[in-house]
Amino acid sequence: MVDRPDVALDDLYREVVMDHHRRPRGRAPLARVDATAHGFNPVCGDEVVISLALDGDRVTGAQVQGRGCAICTASGSMMAEMIPGHTAAEAEATAAAFRAVMHGAPAPGGTDLGDLEALEGVQKFAVRVKCAMLPWVTLTDALKAWRDGGNEATSTTEAQEAER
């Protein structure tokens, strides 16, 4: 049997998480879309579509659509709140830091994860890590496609979470 400390549900569904889940931010359509990506979790069928407005390399607006579980929805909502005002590179650094935390590593020094810290408990639930990562994996893809000159991408949690 696998050693697994008993986990409380409240570790997963913290207050902040539930708040984002109930009133997800970033649902409103953007006036202009510079980058977009469609993310898909083949394990559970969850989908998100991330749309971004950029000014130079600074994200000015983010929309998160799709259907997902509480964790996925909350994670996307936090993202929509956090990244506008940041550069693409900063957003990517946040995604990387969040992935590190989800896989049990400490957040790289200096990264402020803000509300995302409330998702820290997800790391104890292996299957749910993909739920939390889906919006961020998709964001990374949207930014990559935007850099590469395209503006649309499709991604899955499997592809990017496989290395963990």
């Binding site: 008993d6 986990v7 549900l9 539930m18 559970c44």
Partner: protein
Amino acid sequence: MAGTASPVVALDPRALRARFPILRRQVHGHPLVYLDNAATTQKPDTVLAALASYYTTSNANVHRGVHTLAEEATALYERCRSRVAAFVNAPDARGVVIVRNATEAINLVARSWGATLGDGDEVLLSEMEHHSNLVPWIMLARERGVALRHVPITADGRLDMAALAALLSPRTRVVSLTAMSNVLGTINPIAEIAAAAHRVGAVMVVDGAQSVPHMPVDFQSLGADFLAFSAHKMYGPTGIGFLVARPELLEAMEPVSGGGEMIREVRLDFASWNDIPHKFEAGTPNIADAAAFPAALDLLEATGMPAVRAHERELVGYALERLRALGWLQLHGPLDADARGGLVSFVDPEIHPHDLAQVLDTRGIAVRAGHHCAQPLMRRLDVAATARASFGIYNDRDDVDALVDGLVAARAYFGLAGESHG
């Protein structure tokens, strides 16, 4: 088995439960309530004992050895084949190919029998199929230009039989359908469909992954040409499954995998094949699990498949009733317990199935949440995922009650109204 007309003796889930050591386990401080039997079932003590006995007394490679262990191992391995043949009333044990799982069985048919198909030929599937009965045919369509047709489902989750009749034509070379949906529970009228398939000259492939473990299945009276199922879903070990086929069809088919056991004569640049079923079993097979599986068949036969079906029919009826009474759930599949196997898929419109399963897990209740390897069906039902509770011989009404309590608790946990309307 087939043809015994003895009255159905009700099974005793409590007595059966005692035979499954894992059911004494606690999960998060609660006794395990295992409701994920459609994914895989638990294993009785006798299967574990048979496994251990094989490895501690008779382990050897099969078919080629003169020594005592090799002879015993071969006899045990071949005994699995004849037991399986008898269990589904196959015409001949030579028609039983031992594979890894139902998926491999269907792939074998799609690749090997499928190699006789080409442009203009059609394969008839349905909207309720598991990926294992879709993807092999999609691969075949890509390779050989065969056209795939799909029987739609009705609003209450049954095959649309009128549409099926209209889709059958002399171009139809294969009809491949699940006998019981792993999402909707629907039991399909295979015998009727097989007869119709044969009338147009098609072969009938039956995905028995869900039916063989849960109801009497008679290969010959179904009129099946191929029947696929997995031991792990019928109280047997993982890693072993079966393709049961009419021997004449196997005779005409080419092997898909080459190596030891499956050959007659090998030269450096030439090989000829062994007889059926061996020509489809390349390399050292899963001997131990084959030796152990008959212990699972013993249990099912002693319980009686009619009794298994009656028990699960009763249980799914009770579950449907209690789940409907909650008032807030979407239930998928026919609401008539006679038309469905012992599983129920549901969606709480306000709680994602993943979250629901998570809450249930903290109460020791194991249900599955997801697309159940049926993405096209999810799309048809217009859901991303469902939660599914599926029953086995050791489940009883208490398990259903625990599930219902868990669903109510989940609503409370997520701060939603959850008054039972029942």
